[in-house]
Amino acid sequence: MRNVDIKEITNTIKALALDANCNIGKSFIDELREAIKKEKSEIGRNVLEQIIENDEIALEAHEPMCQDTGMVVVFLEVGYDVHFNGDVYDAVNEGVRQAYHEGLLRKSVALHPISRGNTNDNTPAIIHIKLVDGNQIKITLAPKGGGSENMSLVKMLIPSDGIEGIKKLVLHTIFYAGGKPCPPLVVGIGIGGNLEKSALIAKEALMRDLHDINPDPILAQLETELLEEINRLGVGPMGFGGTTTALAVKIGAYPCHFASLPIAINIQCHASRHKSIML
């Protein structure tokens, strides 16, 4: 049994939230630079240049790259042999509270979906806890913006829709989202499970490394094909037209009911902010 002080969770969440909002990471900026070389639209290239300049300012000045500092999504993978000395959900929310207050990040959480208002500290976070082998804790944190989340969806397809139905839905969704979710995008897709499982898989897919290769050959091929097809939609950087609509497509899958083909599309804007750490 490993005893973990929940203060360590709070401090880690705080550090990850502050870092994620200001530091997109060098490899992502490099990816945008590569995209400029391939982008056919002059306006599109200009938009990509402004995004890079923005991300560099944010990093140097340690300021949020985007005013939408998101609702915080946290994945905790907790080893079976870990014992916490307090409420881990409270600890995560305390970390978010401290980061958003001290880091001058925007408090974007409405207190109630109907009557609105504001919780004024950007809590609660959306927290997913998974139990895994061992005595370690992996924490992944992603400030998720509203603009791209608003363009996401879950649809219950049926088996006969097949891969063509999946592709059609993805292309339709990305095309009509246009500039609203701030392309170039990372597109997370969850196929299978049920209603809520597909959405969770799609979100988890967005946490993957931009350059990793899907170990499932069917999904790897679908990722490649969909990326190519999405970039032929013409949407382009910020929807101003062009050939760079998405930088990556990441797909996860799960067994599902034999009557069903659930699909979730979770759209990530170009401020693809997620940070992980192992405790």
Binding site: S41, N54, I57, M65, R106, F240, T243
Partner: protein
Amino acid sequence: MKLKTPITKHDILNMKVGDIIYITGTLYTGRDAAHKRMVEALESGFELPIDFSGQVIYYTGPTPSKPNRPIGSCGPTSSYRMDAYSLPLMKKGLKVMIGKGDRSDAFIKDMIEQKAVYLQAVGGAGALLSRKVVKSEVVAYPDLGAEAIYKLEVIDFPAIVTYDVYGGNLIVDEVKKYRNIQF
């Protein structure tokens, strides 16, 4: 093209889709909650907290500013969420709206009739755009926090004309050039 606020009728007629505009002067911020409140005020027979004649609304909700900076990160938010509220404000003289993304056909029709224009700034470039702001103050609805109405003084704030009064639509025109797949 450089533009100074307030915006004249001549300025509006001069703006055509694809023009890159550098605005100097005053922008008023406003997003979902402020728009809802303003339109509800008008419906209840009250006046708006701001005189929008010849003015510009920028759809943004900034992050809190650092002590040494006039404003925090302040990129545009998606404009379509303000479609339902825009006509009453244009009727009160609002001339330019700046945000990101496409908007409804109904909005475009109203906008042309009201002789107003829609511009886009680069979404997600909040840190960069904050460098164009020299001063900011809350002028209405302070209880709304980031969604309050701020008066921003800007120098050469960049935006691109997306819908003009002649029916031009930058998004439709540009996307068509690069689309080569159907679904």
